[in-house]
Subunit: 272 residues, 2 copies
């Protein structure tokens, strides 16, 4: 999917919500555990219930990898279900990968070609040749970690390098890389005030914003500093939506939570 | 495995060689492709032939992930084979993971508990709470990317933050984290002269050194600057050993390459 098509979906649905599929066998309703593939059953129910209110789904790969072979099967079923039933939804592999060039190429192949994700999150520490193999893919996005939503973001990301913070240096440098038009950036919602500075460097790129909801970030703040004329935001919520209830109507309640966020987003979009 | 046990193995075998299992269906001998699990068949042949000359194996997870479900099965078979046949060999999941705390914990569980690796490589960009969940595991090591062997290492890792390079700041900061005694560090062989500086900060920690061989680093240089009294080095070679030949005697030739490196290492160890 192109950025333009994603923007069209956002205006059509009046939503820039991304639902994080951080599916954990210890947190899903226990009655699902007797199903053949509880992870897929849970994801399918969440997707069927919430797809009207969001434009993207983001499985965090760690949750699938923790289940080994069966986790990979569940991930594959989930992405195939999205492609066949809801092809207009944008998909993000939250994998935070990055390695030397020939190895990054293997990761890119795994997530873009084999699983068919529209995008993948990538860590910047290893620099240009660790990211460019992801950028080579047409109509795919590489979402670079810039400023993350966790406490540890302040350990290195906000260190001064010369006269600017490392995360700004990462963003600026990444813009010089080949096919940099395929970049999006992760910017944590718990640091919404930083978004104004970031928008000065990258007014047009999409930002994937985690940390609204369970991690305490505010949607209003994110919109105030992060929206651009084409929206340019995907705001993710995982736990606060998918684990809103562990009863048998968990999917309905997840849908209500997603709808509530979509309603807030519709208000923000009217201000554009 | 503890660091002490690893050191004992190194002195016993007169080797600190790690063989990288970057197993790629496009590079293994074509006649193996008719086997049921070509990746495992290749790994088994390489392991059986080289295990006398090395102390560790390091599958790079990207190569397995690129094959989806079947790749995870091959990885699992490989690590189970190592555990059952060669339990004295140290195992490294070269995964370069790192995420917010609850997610890093899922990765740690996947690689330490489920697959039973002795160690995993982890990226530092997200800071303390992204790494500490890995450090909690007893008798397991977390190998933090400090200075990598690729060109892109100079994009961010060697940036000055205050009066020192980012990679030094990463090393120093990581020593303040809980259970930091479980840390090892990745330091690329193509930057051997940096090892002297790094040894001033961490005289005792093990360093995993990629980049000797195909990437052009020199074993002599690495030893000159990197060896400590307990050795403290694991030097990795992947392509130069496992792909030394694509004929039917590829494993024998890989063994000869590994033996040649082991011989060089024995000479270096005698100087201690």
């Amino acid at each position: 999917m192109t950025s333009q098509e994603l923007t069209e979906q956002i205006f059509k649905k009046k939503s820039f919500l991304c639902v994080g599929l951080d599916t954990d066998l210890e947190k899903i309703p226990t009655y699902l555990l007797s199903e053949k593939d509880p992870v897929f059953s849970f994801n399918k129910a969440i997707i069927d219930a919430t797809h009207e209110y969001c434009v993207a789904y983001k499985p965090n790969i760690a949750f699938y990898e923790a289940l080994g072979v069966s986790g990979w099967k569940s991930l594959k079923k989930t992405i195939e279900y999205l492609h066949s039933e809801y092809p207009d939804l944008y998909t993000i592999a939250d994998a935070k990968r990055g390695d030397i060039g020939n190895t990054s190429r293997m990761y890119a192949k795994a997530f873009f070609d084999d699983l068919g994700f529209d995008s993948i999150t990538v860590a910047p520490y290893m620099g240009k040749d660790s990211v460019e193999p992801f950028l080579e893919f047409t109509n795919k996005h590489t979402i670079l970690l810039a400023l993350t939503s966790n406490e540890g973001a302040f350990d290195f990301q906000t260190l001064k390098t010369g006269d600017e913070d490392l995360y700004k240096k990462v963003i600026k440098t990444s813009r010089t890389w080949e096919n940099s038009e395929n970049l999006m950036y992760v910017v944590g919602a718990t640091k919404a005030e930083y978004l104004a500075d970031i928008r000065k460097i990258i007014p047009n790129n999409f930002l994937l914003v985690p940390g609204v909801g369970a991690q305490g970030g505010s949607l209003e703040e994110v919109c105030k500093y992060g929206l651009n004329k084409d929206v340019g935001l995907l705001v993710n919520s995982s736990r606060k939506i998918i684990y809103a209830s562990d009863s048998s109507n968990f999917a309905e309640i997840a849908a209500a939570k997603a709808e509530a966020m979509q309603n807030q987003m519709a208000v923000e979009l009217e201000r554009l």
